[in-house]
Symmetry: C2
Subunit: 209 residues, 2 copies
DNA sequence: TTTCTTGTTGAACAGTTGTACAGCAAGAGA
DNA sequence: TCTCTTGCTGTACAACTGTTCAACAAGAAA
């Protein structure tokens, strides 16, 4: 009896974290859940279990489930873009080479992952009825596309005229990348990664005047 | 009292339909619900209310909600493709002209509709955990892409060589169309219909050798 | 008119959901 | 050691989910 009480005292049932630490843990747990089970199984209780905390904690740190998901969206989208950005800039090269590397990365297992698609499905669904999530999307997508646009601008400035404006070239490539990513995610047997890269590589070649 | 009873007799509470008629009504109601409220509000009770029937009826005609949704998916996807097909063939013309018309139709209000996107979001979500819905997708997407592929094949046979195989050309165009449709649906302020058409029209021009 | 088939009802069931909140307890500061 | 702040727990709640099924009744057939 005495012994048990002592053990309990020495092994706290839980450890207190600072709000930012706890939010980080909750965001990671939410991402794990979305990625594992998809949007329709995403519940406060699932997330709480994944994070190893009680149900109540989530509404202590976030006013609603949507707020947490929006935070998770921002987190994964930004870290993916950062990852892409770093890998591309690390190896340097011309704008043309960087775009090619961007395409190759888009068709690498990091990005071509059914789990990742499930996460985006959840975000798109929540965008339909959450201003918060919509704002995060607009913010992330803008940065994504302006990055592409800037690279096409560089190509033109380097002396290679294009058949269309950098804006349309970027819109086209992002559409192509997203569309092929979508179709591959819905059914990976549709085409291979190599075919995907081949199609996008052609876009890069063909838009040169 | 006597009068009331007579009225009740003459105005039945409901009318009995043949299974096929009722299924048609249920499918339409399900589509209305998906399109109006999106995937996360799609429930048996909502569909039943929309169809003006009781909750129990749905499980009388379908063994599960998923079966009904799969039926609804097949219905809307097939009718959209039929609509496209008819409009394209009606005006005839070369394969090149038909493809251009396909692109224009893709960026017309019929297809560029946030409501339609909500429906597809629901289907994609259900594909993640329903063999039934997945099968319908595979079936519909195959017919969609093979239609495009066939038109590119015609172009080649008409004497215009392409920079890539009909398969890759079709994959590319469908990726482009789907990707731009996706991005427009997520945020219609991204680009205009004209810009979308312009991008796809360029694909048609550029792939010629 | 009566019978009979079967499409239809609506309550009941056993779950699930997000959120609120009274109270517990971790662990820093005194 | 004790106090006190506040991160955290877990129950309670009201509303919802898909599915089942005994009972009802529409309307064709006899």
């Amino acid at each position: 009896m005495e012994k048990e009480k002592t053990q309990e005292k020495r092994q706290p049932k839980y450890s207190r974290k600072s709000p930012s630490e706890r939010r980080e843990i909750l965001v990671q747990a939410a991402l794990n859940c979305i990625v594992r089970d998809g949007p329709h199984k995403l519940s406060i209780r699932q997330i709480a279990q994944e994070a190893g905390v009680s149900v109540g904690l989530i509404n202590h740190h976030y006013t609603s489930k949507e707020e947490l998901v929006a935070d998770a969206y921002r987190h994964i989208a930004a870290s993916l873009m950062d990852d892409f950005g770093q890998r591309i800039k690390m190896e340097g090269g011309t704008a043309q080479e960087q775009l090619l590397r961007f395409i190759q990365l888009s068709f690498s297992p990091v990005n071509l992952d059914p789990k990742l698609f499930r996460a985006w499905l959840a975000f798109w669904t929540m965008m339909q009825h959450s201003e918060e999530v919509s704002a995060v999307h607009a913010e992330q997508y803008d940065s994504y596309r302006s990055r592409l646009e800037h690279l096409f601008q560089e190509i033109i400035e380097a002396g290679t005229p294009l058949r269309m404006s950098p804006r349309l070239a970027a819109l086209g490539l992002s559409g192509l990348l997203d569309g092929l990513w979508l179709e591959w995610s819905l059914d990976p047997t549709n085409f291979t990664e190599e075919e995907g890269i081949e199609i996008c590589r052609n876009w890069l070649e063909m838009i040169k005047k």
